[in-house]
Symmetry: none
Subunit: 207 residues, 4 copies
């Protein structure tokens, strides 16, 4: 009998187990990909006695993967959220968001690798778990860009939504490159990307 059915209460042990399994799933998916991450593999890596234990704690594989995605987003969200109120300017807010994102990717490679694998391997991952968060993030960037534009920091012909999209795409590309280029000089790469973004959005050519 699934423990989480009926009431929404989870026991202390239950919560711990779920955390353990989610962590093992992240590690496993990062290592062997979503396709290779069978319950058997995850259980082996987590030191669990049987794949059945996972089915016992999660309704089905989709629930587990959903929790994995939530865990990854939760970890990142707190850190790299774009904070325009703490920044001295909109430009500063955008650029530190860019640099901060890459820094986060760099320090959480396993998480990011797992996330990518899930997005790649699970047919409905995007629509189910990440599209909403992504468009919220996009909205946030867009708002900062619009604000900066109103403040005269950014070029007048900049279309905030497009620029926001472009920045997100550059970050996606950066993540991809980070994970697949062995000896990448992250600092230098970050610097180049920040420069690129500054130039692309700034009001003056020499920004």
């Amino acid at each position: 009998m699934q423990p989480k059915s009926g009431s929404g209460e989870l026991t202390f042990t239950e919560v711990g187990r779920r955390r353990q399994i989610v962590a093992a799933a992240i590690e496993t998916i990062a290592e062997v990909g979503y396709t290779g991450a069978s319950f058997a593999q995850i259980a082996k890596r987590a030191g669990l006695s049987s794949p059945g234990l996972i089915s016992y704690h999660f309704a089905d594989k989709d629930e587990l993967i959903g929790q994995v995605v939530a865990e990854i987003y939760g970890t990142g969200g707190a850190q790299i959220r774009l904070r325009s109120d703490q920044a001295s300017s909109s430009t500063d807010a955008v650029l530190s968001f860019v640099a901060g994102s890459i820094a986060f990717y760099d320090s959480h490679r396993a998480h990011m690798r797992a996330l990518i694998q899930i997005l790649n391997g699970h047919p409905q991952a995007r629509e189910r778990w990440v599209d909403q968060a992504n468009s919220a993030e996009l909205d946030g960037i867009e708002q900062v860009l619009a604000q900066g534009q109103r403040d005269g920091e950014f070029r007048g012909d900049l279309v905030p939504r497009v620029a926001a999209v472009v920045i997100r795409d550059l970050l996606s590309g950066a993540l991809q490159r980070l994970l697949t280029t062995p000896g990448l000089d992250v600092a230098a790469y970050t610097g180049e990307l920040v420069t690129f973004c500054r130039r692309a959005i700034s009001g003056s050519a020499d920004a």
Copy 2:
């Protein structure tokens, strides 16, 4: 006995069947992802009596997927190749490549969706079938950028390789967005992306 062993000659019927199966595979992969695209699923969509028929016409799944990739690349290759010689300027070459790529993505959504799914789902897809083409493309962009820079069209501090990578990332992002955003105004989106790129690489702020 596999029909295509030995000599490279293929019957008329054989060619037709292979085309049919490749087309069904593209459709299937676009719909249910690489992971979900079992021979059984492909056969069902192709109206074949049994999955065995696919094995009869293709040595193994890799051969089929290779043909799918070749078909997709073959379709697109002629259209979106970056042609600097036919362009009036390096700027024009780059921008029309960007616009042309998005136009191609837009008109071949199922193909591109399938390609992405394969790149995501097949462990060696990149190294086997696309890495070479991709880096050739990247080289092409880089060369045009470098030429434009020598000609004074582009800003002097532009690093051709970085800019080329950025442009490719933007296109990848554009493709992603195209496929996942239901009501996207492609023309507007393309226009804004082109503007963005022009500004990002041009030598003057008002380019």
Copy 3:
């Protein structure tokens, strides 16, 4: 429609084709074993257009294999039949049968290898196709031994049937060894075996 159904008549072409297929089957089985000798493999080696052609000429796989066995036995039968009437003595008959058998094995390695593979791989090969021939052969040896015993050539306590069986077993072992020992000195090995047999059946210890 199977050509050989109804009347037992075979056309000239038909006979030729069957011979060709049987020969290809022998070659294939000798090379890749009975298990590996699918119709597809046999057709490929024979240069036949399709495995279907084999089914067209033979009712089923068993009929083909039966013909293969018959062909192999037919080839050998004429040559190594034990001829007591042409021998100067029973001892001579037996020993030249032993030596002759090994000589035949040596000169027909592919045939013998195929035969062994069939006996190994086909569940009912022995009972269907070879048991009868084998016991006939055994009878022949036994009769010569009994005759030689009556003539006083062989030891009185020799039990003809047992000795015949022993001789056949030695030949089976010799064939096995011949096919699996790369650099075997066949002449020496034959000599030893003949000596062994002479001693085992002769009436005097120094025979």
Copy 4:
């Protein structure tokens, strides 16, 4: 998750199931040959619900067959080992080995039938599982023969290796005959084979 991975410990139930499956495999192979012994067939005879259960308990077919061979050899090994130290003479050692082997074959027909089928049907059975044991056995026979020859029990012109090979061939032949001759009088056959061997190796004609 395969139960036997990681530590070598096996549950009580697990051991029982493996035994059951191995026993069913022996029975199946003896009945329908190695080729016909699919997991489906074995499962049917074992009363298992699905062939997948065999894969659950054994890593792959080779592991199962290896266990089958080990089981067969394990059963026989203790009984038919040639014990020269417990024999009153080398002659006695050899002859009781011969008689004992046949007795074992007779009392373990299914096992021996299965072993033969495996040796015949599995491409690498010999080199993987039995060659070592076989040549050790051959060495043992040869040594006893050489010792007996040094002691003057056997004829001086006997070549130990050749005689050992001959004896093994006779036993192989005996096994074959035992399994394929319905009404064979085993006792008589054994007696005659022993007599034959005694005469063939003894130093005196009346041995």
